[in-house]
């Protein structure tokens, strides 16, 4: 059972309330594909990923980034039950998408950086710790159903 402090709950709710899901989602996925190019292996059908500019301008990537961020929203709204919330998605990523769960950490690190760039000073060490704890619970839940 994950125990959340009041500060952590408030911080997560606050951060997500300030995010433009479309902008942040697209930027995060694009960043992941640029910083960790091997993650492009899962996006063979997404068109032009030839260089950073192409990735950042790719509409399919932008759209998929938004999908991912909306998926994160489910955890924000169910912080006390993240494992159950993602059981189906975990199965999907394992059985259908065959995504190595290590990739979840890479994407979550990129999200942290994108949010830091957006919030600047407001993204203090304590806020970062809360955000990273949240993402690590999400990452763990997404990997739970792999076998």
């Amino acid at each position: 059972m994950v125990v959340w402090t009041d500060f952590e709950r408030a911080t997560i709710a606050d951060i997500f309330s300030k995010l433009d899901y479309e902008a942040v989602g697209g930027a995060t996925l694009a960043r992941c594909l640029i910083v960790y190019p091997w993650t492009q292996r899962y996006f063979g059908n997404f068109g032009n990923l030839y260089n950073a500019a192409a990735i950042m301008g790719n509409p399919m990537i932008a759209k998929h980034g938004t999908t991912i961020l909306h998926g994160l929203d489910r955890a924000v709204k169910n912080m006390d039950n993240i494992k159950a919330t993602y059981a189906e998605l975990s199965v999907l990523h394992s059985e259908k998408l065959h995504v190595d769960p290590d990739n979840f950490k890479l994407l979550s690190d990129c999200l942290t950086i994108v949010v830091a760039a957006q919030l600047g000073k407001a993204f203090s060490g304590e806020v970062q710790a809360a955000f990273q704890k949240f993402l690590s619970v999400v990452v763990s839940a997404l990997g739970k159903q792999y076998h």
Binding site: R31, I34, V35, A52, D109, I113, G125
Partner: protein, 141 residues
């Protein structure tokens, strides 16, 4: 593998940040202490509270070493020789902490540079900090 353009970009960024080395270094350390409490165990002999003199001077040392290395990345093993020895035989910091610190440095850069911390800059910087950490750990065993 760093391209010539990436090396330029990295050197440029650290050159710009050298005047605020104390701020950047202290912030990266504080972020690491907040997110990885185990890292604090290496600092039991210092005052690492926010804005403490120890924290700021230590952060400055680290950032200046990183900035110095950035001036000629191909010479990292030479530039870091003494620091390699220090970390291997005296400090003996578990190398996973280098990863934690690098990540917190990237977050610090993002918080300061905002949109200027582009994906390309991020990729270059991540590669540089990984290389730096690897060289630093070379004498460990």
């Amino acid at each position: 593998m760093l391209s010539a353009r990436e090396k330029e970009l990295i050197a440029e960024i650290w050159d710009r940040l050298t005047p605020v080395a104390e701020d950047i270094g202290a912030e990266a350390l504080l972020r690491m202490f907040a997110t990885e409490p185990g890292s604090k165990t290496y600092f039991s002999h210092l005052d690492i509270s926010p804005s403490s003199a120890h924290l700021r001077s230590h952060g400055k040392k680290i950032v200046l070493a990183i900035a110095e290395g950035a001036k000629d990345i191909s010479q990292l093993a030479v530039t870091l020789g003494p620091l390699q020895t220090l970390h291997a035989y005296q400090l003996r910091i578990d190398p996973t902490n280098f990863k934690f610190f690098s990540h917190c440095m990237l977050v610090t850069l993002a918080a300061h540079m905002r949109n200027d911390f582009t994906p390309v800059a991020h990729a270059a910087m991540d590669k540089y900090l990984s290389a730096f950490a690897a060289v630093l750990a070379e004498k460990f065993r």
